[in-house]
Point group: C2
Chain length 324, copies 2
Amino acid sequence: MKNLEELREIIRNSISNIDLNRSPQELYDPISYTLNLGGKRLRPSLCLLAADMVGGNIEDALPPAIGIEIFHNFTLLHDDIMDKAAIRRGKETVHIKWDENVAILSGDTMMALAYEYIMKAPQTLRTKVFSVFNKTAIEVCEGQQFDMNFETRDDVSIEEYINMIRLKTGVLLAGSLKIGAIIGGAEKETANKLYKFGENIGIAFQLKDDLLDVFSDVEKFGKTTGGDIISNKKTYLYLNAFELATGDDLSELTELSFSKTVDAKEKVKKVKAIYENLGIQQVTESKIEYYYQRAKKCLDEIKLSLEKKSELVKFAEILKRREM
Amino acid sequence: MKNLEELREIIRNSISNIDLNRSPQELYDPISYTLNLGGKRLRPSLCLLAADMVGGNIEDALPPAIGIEIFHNFTLLHDDIMDKAAIRRGKETVHIKWDENVAILSGDTMMALAYEYIMKAPQTLRTKVFSVFNKTAIEVCEGQQFDMNFETRDDVSIEEYINMIRLKTGVLLAGSLKIGAIIGGAEKETANKLYKFGENIGIAFQLKDDLLDVFSDVEKFGKTTGGDIISNKKTYLYLNAFELATGDDLSELTELSFSKTVDAKEKVKKVKAIYENLGIQQVTESKIEYYYQRAKKCLDEIKLSLEKKSELVKFAEILKRREM
């Protein structure tokens, strides 16, 4: 069995070999740019890993794995327009480097390209793979819409938030594993358990992201700590703080959230102090542990040798322990 | 055999029965709005017609036909963002009625929905139908990109223009017919001839659109005559005028194109006069006739009875003769 790093290398090679030297260049250059921005290639690597661990052929899973990565990059491209983000992976986003119209249209084309690769799954499994992928694609869009809705809502529940990150982050990790498993010839139960593993790990992953935005070293994390606080993003930390705060904490939190004059650095410092006061870090860590354990349980229930499952166990632990 | 109007009715019913009562509403309401704006439902009706004329089952072709119409509406939705169009079919466009982010994301979701319906083609034909559709989807994006490129280019050739409208308008009509034919069980040659028929008719259709923008009654056409002239759109008429004009005509045309002070009504009047002087209407009409004849030839070569082909003959004639 190959380890995740070896699989990542296969994905990297395969992506760099995609021929995007097509006309019109104005459409394909941004696609090539986007696909070559790098990134962890997590989803396609997990897809190959799933195929491998259930005893299937990595080669069979490779084109759909690439399709998943193209789709993922398409969502980032369109999300960056919606979020008005100027930088992605240290480089200008497409709508800044080119323009918004180019970003919309090259994103649309990437979506079609993603389907092209998905449909290169082995003939007999094509419909099944397509169904998992398409359900996932729609759910990712739904997650993004919920995320946008939350920006202007003041009554977002923690449950709704978890469901949003499940859709926005969980299901694509889940779908990647399930598609790999299906192509590898896994039994239905195994494929579904891998799906659930991915979904839970995805939620834990996003919660960890929320946590690291506030409680991490700038040097390690690479982005300014507290970005979510500055933008009043309704993260897991934010929602729990409002749930737990009373008295002075609550009025200060409310004031800081609505104030337009408070200095950004000052705001981060003050909100962080309230979070510490309320034990938000611990609340979040315990929720991450909860989803991590749920994921682990799915993996335990899969009827495969420990050795076959070891890469995924390692992967889950790395995600849990990551500090950036 | 059913006629085009009867098929259109089947499509209309089917579209109104699509269940979009899903969450989040903010994502699905704009989709429902877009799909229920009306329109001629030309592409899906042609898809059913092709299935019917080659002796196939209309019911089998219905889901992919709906997928084609969803895709077509998705392209209109995203095109309207790119063109900053405020009105579509007499109603506010999605990015105006909601906002741009909603328009991007509900468009993306429509694309996924389109694939869902495409993949409801009969199992044994699914891959084939998918291939035709996906190639078409990518080409439509390419056509839109060429169209955007042309806005800022001064050296667009007539050949390039024809290729652009082939991609933007021709291939989806063509693909609709081919998909219907494939599902109906047509021989490869028949399916390909129907494709070519659609492609040529699509080009003729767009050229007619260009013509009607300048030479038609406002009452009949429904939109202000001369919109393309006002916006300096590089239409077939525009490109030919620049190709044919010499001396005073050329300098006046150039001046009118670049002037930012000339009154819109005055500009339309003057450009139209030059077009008349140069015989641009006749040049365009003869090109429409050329593509119409090419389409007709494809149809003639299809080995089916005249009766079976009569609906498509009628359809082509209506398109050619239309005055709005």
